[in-house]
Symmetry: C2
Subunit: 259 residues, 2 copies
Amino acid sequence: MLRPGERVLVAVSGGKDSLALWDLLVALGYDADGLYLGLGIGDYSDHSGDAARSYAGERGRKLHEVDLAADYGYDIPGAAAATHRAPCGACGLSKRHLFNRVAIERGYDVVATGHNLDDEAAVLLGNVMRWEAGYLGRQHPVLPATLGFARKVKPLIRLGEREMAAYCVLEGIDYIVEECPMAAGNRHLGYKEVLNALEERSPGTKAAFVFGFLDRAQPHFAGAALEERETLGECAVCGSPTTGEVCAFCRLRERASDA
Amino acid sequence: MLRPGERVLVAVSGGKDSLALWDLLVALGYDADGLYLGLGIGDYSDHSGDAARSYAGERGRKLHEVDLAADYGYDIPGAAAATHRAPCGACGLSKRHLFNRVAIERGYDVVATGHNLDDEAAVLLGNVMRWEAGYLGRQHPVLPATLGFARKVKPLIRLGEREMAAYCVLEGIDYIVEECPMAAGNRHLGYKEVLNALEERSPGTKAAFVFGFLDRAQPHFAGAALEERETLGECAVCGSPTTGEVCAFCRLRERASDA
């Protein structure tokens, strides 16, 4: 995932996973800075930004900030309204695009995200229920760098949600406990509930599901996904890799900032 | 799945799916006989056998019968006790072996089973949760005949449980409504509950899951499973295809009939 001396950009939400990840990487001797994205989701965004900033300030770490409204002219509630789609789609798209862009522009070798085992299992279940071959091919804890993409790693993939919360308590890390209000009732949380029920009946279910996938199924889907990555062109607006003329982020921004 | 003039052996449990399947195949002009397996599960087996026999008798259809206790010296509760495993494993193994054996010995071209969309989705979810590559490679509504194996088809795979029950009511087919008492609390029923919850949130989930699998994932797993089938030897006891010296059915029979 990471080599000594590499510059790591940690995607920091202010929640337990991303702050614990940042803490662990620094403790392990990595040169790791944070990036916080202001999503404009009312009190939730205010509190999560405070948690990220106070962690960085207290421990003397460097935190980059991008604010969707100030820097790109839209926020997540506005994007959801403009696109008439669930807000989580616009949010995920914005995060993926901007974490990657900041990493490339500022010379980081790798983007590290705090996805834990519970997150990965829920995303995998969603991808499997619809057999999204492209997403399955890209679901891996290490995505190598390709033209226009920084390397992406998920170091916490073997650890559960409760382990991350316990780590924060033991290390005295103040994180934002409240969940994003716009995520309430979304599919991802439904998949988490289903997996929690299966895990309770049969402990070890989530780990067997995620690691069995990586071992015996993901390689079948990886080839097509990598090939697609290598045929991407450049967005006419921002230069990011895209399958079309203008990338999905710029199209979202155009639509949402007009609204 | 089926060609005109072929001899079809329908695996009949006495439940709604298998009786509806038999009824449909005869109505469509196929030469379809039934095979009922006496599992020795108390009242449940008595009632399911009665349902199968009375359907066959009333409609003048030919029903073969195999009784595990009388013909093979064990029953399912005894097999579960002898193997210290869940009864459903011994039951599934016995059914697969004997449906195939009777079809081969009596010159049927194909075995048809009443698995519906709900069944297939639950089996698929179980196979996917553990990424059982071999089972995923064999999970298909049409398994072609190979040396020692009759062709196997699942004609009801597009229809739901409630549709099969409705068909039986409309056609006046008396089926056994009670569920197998030995299956209560098993994993398969847990997967059905989970899928029912997902289907309720998002109708079409089960169909997208099963048919997306067949379209975009099953082919990745099919090759290895077919190759394995072609390297099988013959069971030293009964001559059935097996990876070992003695097939799993004969080993189960040996263990369970000693007990």
